[in-house]
Amino acid sequence: MNDCIMTTKYELEKRKYVLGGAAILIVVVYLVRLFSLQMLSDDFKRNADSNAFLKRIQFPARGSITDRNGKLLVYNQPSYDIMVVMTEQTGVDTLDLCQSLGITRDWYDRRMAEIKDRSRNPGYSRYTQQLFMSQLSSEEFSRFQEKLFRFPGFYVQKRSTRQYQYSHAAHILGDVGEVNPADIKSDDYYQPGDYIGKLGVERSYERQLRGVKGTEILLRDARGRIKGRYQEGRFDQPPVPGKNLTLSIDLELQALGERLMQGKLGSIVAIEPKTGEVLCMVSSPTYDPRMMVGRQRGTSNIILGQDPHKPLLNRAIMGQYPPGSTFKTGQALTLLQEGIITPATPYPCSRGFHYKGLTVGCHGHGSPLPLVPAIATSCNGYFCWGLYHMFNNRRKYPRVQDAMTTWKDYMVSMGFGYPLGIDLPGEKRGMIPNATYYDKAYRGSWNALTVISIAIGQGEVNLTPLQIANLGATIANRGYFYTPHVVKEIQDEALDTLYTRPRYTMVDREYYDVVVQGMRAAVTGGTCRGANNTWYEVCGKTGTAQNPHGQDHSVFMGFAPKDDPQIAICVYVENGHYGATFGVPIGALMMEQYLRGSLCEASELRAQQFETTHLYKPYDYVSTAE
């Protein structure tokens, strides 16, 4: 009996091994689990870091923009974005919020739905800040801030908006707007809600202007509250401010140009020949760049987009026009260089070019006449004959196509037919036809007469006003040009070599001298007499570009002073009729402003006259915008 109890007791005591074994087993299993959690994977570490470290982006100040004389054109002003965290914004008095922000209940509901809509807002998360309303002004913000404590889940983020000191040069300055998905895709610098240059130099110098975003590493607790900086900011990276730009634009000249072009469609481009710097670039109609600031940008864009006169179009680089007679200077240079004519070669003109039933009309002047008076009087007959002789010169060019190709090469060397490469987005190439083009258009059967109108800047030839102004600059330089550009200096950075290297045409300097003589004669006794003055020697060439859709376009191309050119200019007034009607006087006023610093009294009166001469009825924004 006793033995039995003893055995049982002994048997039972063995159960301590079961319990001890269970304890050991549990601890071993847990150690294995710990090992796999802590030693085998880095995921948890990364997870913990992304939990705890909030990388807050610090936005750099965007570079400012000044004109060539140091006048501040564009700068930054603080603005405030209202952010919302959906999970935290429960129990907000919506009515009170709407009133404080000056929005309607409808707008609020729509905006909230938009934020939650992942197809429109791919980065949506209920736990992070989402943009609710952007770019409140300081006044709006201070009104809202007083009540901010009543709206849990709503936060304010400081941003900066672009401010424009003047209402001028909208097309050059451009604007900034929120990045779109394509921007984000093409450059991972951007995140939704960032701003990017959309037009003008804001876009073409985006890289320089934007600076480099900084990051601040903050410790964030489970409720998203910031608990300080990680390691006292040792790993923070301060933002690098954007670089300031100095434009080559002369604000006064730009302002005068915009004034003179009021009520007219067209463009004025002025270039400093010895540098290629664009002194002014007017496109009319224009708009006030201040319309594109802040929350009104979207509406402004729509309103301007509806205007049939397309104020958003920068006609100076996007308008492709027949250059008309201004093109004859280029023709003269080509004919001289190719040896088709000498300065003394006379061609007849009996009120035009008549040959085999083809007539290109001209106005009355002496005939036959050599090159200089032909330029001065803008003789159509002369240049038609010139092209005819060139294209039919079978000793020099075996086929008409070869002549055409040679001609095209000259034109391209003068900067036509391709974008010049100005530092603004959207530049068009214009149109210089080539042999292939005509072969296609006329199925191979064409000759000099078929294409004769290209000799006088009509027909298939189209140039942008910038290309015409650049032609003026090239002639002023007697044979070369610098790629036109609107940015004169970038802070701490050299300009692209594209803008500092001269580009030579295929024509020698001596021939340019002849053309300059012709252009000078046009001012002293030809079509450009209106530009003549006693202060400096102006050289010019008018153009009256035929326009199948209506009244001819009025064109002027010129430069001054003749022997030390400071300014080359192109004035293009759509439907302005004769070059002498609008082109010449406007060009003269612009030159006077730039070369003398101001307009004399008589000129001021004439400027006022042009300012009030309207060729079209301005689009009525108010009545069309609902």
Binding site: T8, L12, E13, R15, K16, V18, L19, G20, A22, A23, I24, I26, V27, V29, Y30, L31, R33, L34, F35, L37, Q38, M39, S41, D43, F44, K45, N47, A48, D49, N51, A52, F53, L219, R220, D221, A222, R223, K227, G228
Partner: protein
């Protein structure tokens, strides 16, 4: 020198030599590490690290640790025989307090277990453990008590279940579950191992059945993995028990290999010939096995067959009532906790959030951890209840794998040491009480660390000596030091 002399001498030489100083050392080391963890878990960036400020939790924990040490000394100075003789009174007192608690308590996160005393809140349930352990020990040390007798076992269970009922009324199911650990002690004292096995089987059936109730055995199978596995287990367990408890190996072989073989054939048929729900075949196999065992029990007059048949039947019944238990017996937050733990509900910001963040905290610690007070996960409050139930996260994040391993090994040493101490008790009372203590520690360690590691359900019970809080610290201290006092009296003459 006679044994009697030696004993008297030792007693005369004083208490100090009879105390198990290794356990005391383990206790003090764990307390120290626990305090460091509380410092790490409650560190606030705003009031950078004044750990001794009594308005902070780390400061308060010093108070609890100090009073605990005082309490431990007092307990060592009392007479263990006095404690033993007061067992019933202490137990009755706590039962009354436990049942009164829900009426006196103020609601803390749905729990009605805290009573306000002055400016402190105490949780009587934490103290009821030692009272229950004392009472059970007293009951089981009574002469003639045999755990294998059903009546006696029921009495012991009753003593355990009364406080459980009271604690469930306080909506502290987690604390109530701790009393399951008493079954480990009962097992040591001679309770049939099959009861323990049945309990563990029930947990396995429940977990497997619920976890895989929606998962097909193979893609597009008309059979869910949950019931399929459970029925397979039932067949295997039945076969295994036949192997262990009966003489005739043929029956065990038939039930095991025959049953499983039929199930396998049915599965192959369903997979490659005509898809059908294999569970019906499995049920048939189980039912046939049960009938066969009942027939054998009648024919051979062998109770073992009957019991095993009953086990199989009970298993089936339990499995099919598990859904009912989950959906209708458990409270909603417990349901979600279980479902999240079993991976049935994806809820990264809800209950699952705790487990995910706990794993991130531990996992980010690496080998050596981020260093004292350098944990971001715990400091920035990503881990909820980081200073109480999830305190082990702080150890994992700041002290790394090495720190965790040291803590676990210290606990293991403590438990194994307590087994040793319990086994050396000359009286049943001391041994039973000792096993109660170590079982409770083991259960807390198993559940608390397991939930932090994502291995066991999230049941809100503290990690002894680590979790912040006076009640639990005092409770564990009293529990442990009563045993050390009993152990210190082991040389006294046998009565």
């Amino acid at each position: 020198m006679s044994a009697q002399q030696s004993n008297t001498q030792r007693k005369g030489a004083g208490l100090l030599q009879s105390i198990d100083w290794l356990t005391v050392l383990l206790y003090v080391v764990l307390l120290g590490m626990g305090w460091m963890s509380v410092c790490g878990a409650t560190y606030d960036f705003d009031q950078a690290g004044n750990f001794f400020d009594f308005s902070t939790r780390s400061g308060m924990q010093i108070v609890w640790i100090g009073t605990s040490l005082l309490l431990a000394m007092l307990l060592l100075m009392t007479d263990d025989r006095l404690i033993e003789s007061l067992s019933y009174i202490i137990y009755l007192l706590f039962v009354v307090v436990l049942f009164a608690t829900p009426f006196l308590a103020h609601d803390i996160k749905g729990s009605l277990s805290w009573i306000k005393v002055g400016s402190f809140s105490i949780q009587p349930a934490e103290f009821a453990k030692f009272a229950t352990a004392l009472c059970v020990a007293k009951v089981m040390s009574a002469s003639g008590f045999t755990v294998t007798r059903w009546r006696d076992l029921l009495i012991a269970c009753l003593v355990i279940m009364v406080p459980v009922a009271a604690i469930i009324l306080q909506k502290e199911t987690g604390s109530a579950l701790v009393y399951l650990s008493f079954f480990l002690m009962l097992y040591r004292e001679g309770m049939a191992g099959s009861i323990l096995f049945a309990g563990i089987s029930a947990v396995v059936y429940f977990v497997v059945g619920v976890r895989f109730s929606e998962v097909p055995v193979w893609n597009g199978a008309p059979v869910a993995l949950g019931p399929y596995l459970v029925l397979l287990f039932i067949q295997l367990f039945t076969g295994g028990m036949l192997w262990l408890y009966t003489e005739r190996r043929a029956v065990a072989r038939q039930v095991t290999f025959g049953g499983v073989g039929i199930m396998a054939l049915a599965t192959l048929f369903s997979r490659f010939v005509i898809p059908f729900n294999v569970v019906w075949v499995q049920l048939g196999v189980c039912a046939f096995s049960i009938l066969y065992l009942l027939y054998l029990a009648l024919r051979d007059r062998l109770l073992a067959y009957l019991y095993i048949a009953l086990f199989a039947m009970g298993s089936l019944a339990f499995h099919y009532s598990a859904d009912f238990v989950l959906n209708d017996v458990l409270q909603p937050h417990q349901q979600t906790r279980i479902k999240v733990l079993l991976g049935l509900e994806d809820d990264p910001r809800g209950v699952g959030y705790n487990v995910i963040q706990a794993k991130i905290a531990i996992g980010s610690g690496g080998l050596r951890g981020k260093g004292f007070l350098n944990g971001t996960q715990t400091k920035l409050k990503y881990v909820p209840e980081q200073d109480t139930d999830f305190i082990f996260c702080t150890v994992g994040e700041e002290e790394g794998f090495l720190g965790c391993a040291i803590v676990l090994l210290l606990f293991l040493t403590l438990i194994l040491r307590l087994i040793h101490l319990a086994e050396r008790q000359p009286y049943t009372f001391g041994r039973v009480y000792g096993y109660c203590v170590l079982s409770i520690f083991l259960f807390h360690l198993f559940i608390n660390v397991g939930m932090v590691l994502g291995l066991t359900p999230v049941i809100g019970i503290p990690l002894p000596f680590f979790s912040y809080g006076g009640s639990s610290l005092w409770g564990f201290t009293i529990l442990l030091f009563i045993f050390l006092r009993i152990d210190a009296g082991r040389y006294r003459l046998q009565r």
